[in-house]
Amino acid sequence: MNKKILLVDDSNTILLMEKMILGKESYTLVTASDGYQAIEQAIAQAPDAILLDVVMPGMDGFATCRELRRREETRNIPVIMVTTRGESDNVEHGFESGCNDYVTKPINGPELLAKLRNMLGETR
């Protein structure tokens, strides 16, 4: 059974980019365009991992991650933060909110795949 990845971003460009990168792998992809939708999808779809954008209108990525960690049904889902700025305080903030790893924009396809595979315990 294919692993399921939830992609969360308010930018269609990034969602399309992530679909292009991950689509050639045997993953089932589901998307959400904001934090609230992300939590709903995480509960409904029980994905194997979540790619979560930091900057989103309404509930940002940090708040969404904290909410995912607070809820019993989503707290163990691995989360990779997609951050625009890679400064250390931004990254620390992400880890404090409970993310497992992060990638910076512009997204580097091989790096994202490597981190995702590592998180899912896949070898290549």
């Binding site: 990168i21 091989p110 290549r124």
Partner: protein
Amino acid sequence: MKKLGQEPGAYVQRVREGTQRYTQDLLSDNERLRVLVATLEAERTRLQDRARANEDLLRELDVLRGLAASLEREKVRIQEQLLAAHQELDGHRRERELLQHQLAEIERQSRSHSERYVQVEAQNSNLANLYVASYRLQGTLNRREVLEAIEEIVGNLIGCEELAIYEMDARGEALELVSSVGLDHAEHARVPLGVGRLGRAAVTGEPDVASGQDSERAAEARLSACIPLKLDGRVTGALALFRLLPQKPSFEAVDHELFELLATHAATALYCTALQARLSAQPA
């Protein structure tokens, strides 16, 4: 006669004494011979013991000779085994060298495949960038959406956090700002053609991507790239990319491909939105 009569007693006496001495001598000799016999007997016993001991030694010597012969045979057998083991070891060494050579070749091929795989993944990622950019630009006739698509492409795919999008004014004398991200609008509102790097790029139609450190570039250090937008070889606008994201030290090969794509596709997309607006404005 009397004398003779007296003499026989003396004679007997003498004979008796002589006999006694003789007897004593015999007894002494006898005693001496008895001791000698006893000594000889003891000597004979000792020699017999010694002879038996020698016989034991000889038997033991025979056993040792047999053992030595056995050991010699064993030594020969072990030497043969050792030789065979050496030959086998040489065979294993040769086999190991062959396997090591094969392993090194497999590792080299594996590294080559891994490097190729990484290259292919990077190429896929670059193609995905170009596809996404093209798809987003051609996916709408709404002017605002096209401008947002350009902003997202430059921000998320190139990694620039300060951007200005210009279009040529109606008289073809200057670039007019139509949208910006992270910049003061008034400060960048208008760029006369031929003035500064952006104005000159709009005249030549050639992209100007920062790489040198001359005085003018130092003065416009924040301007990372000027990308003229062209339609049918005519400049219709320009993109000015200023500060890159902190984790983006410089442009990469795929960025230059994106510049080329943006130069034509963004121009076309903006032109199409203008056409669409004119068509929409016409009475049905």
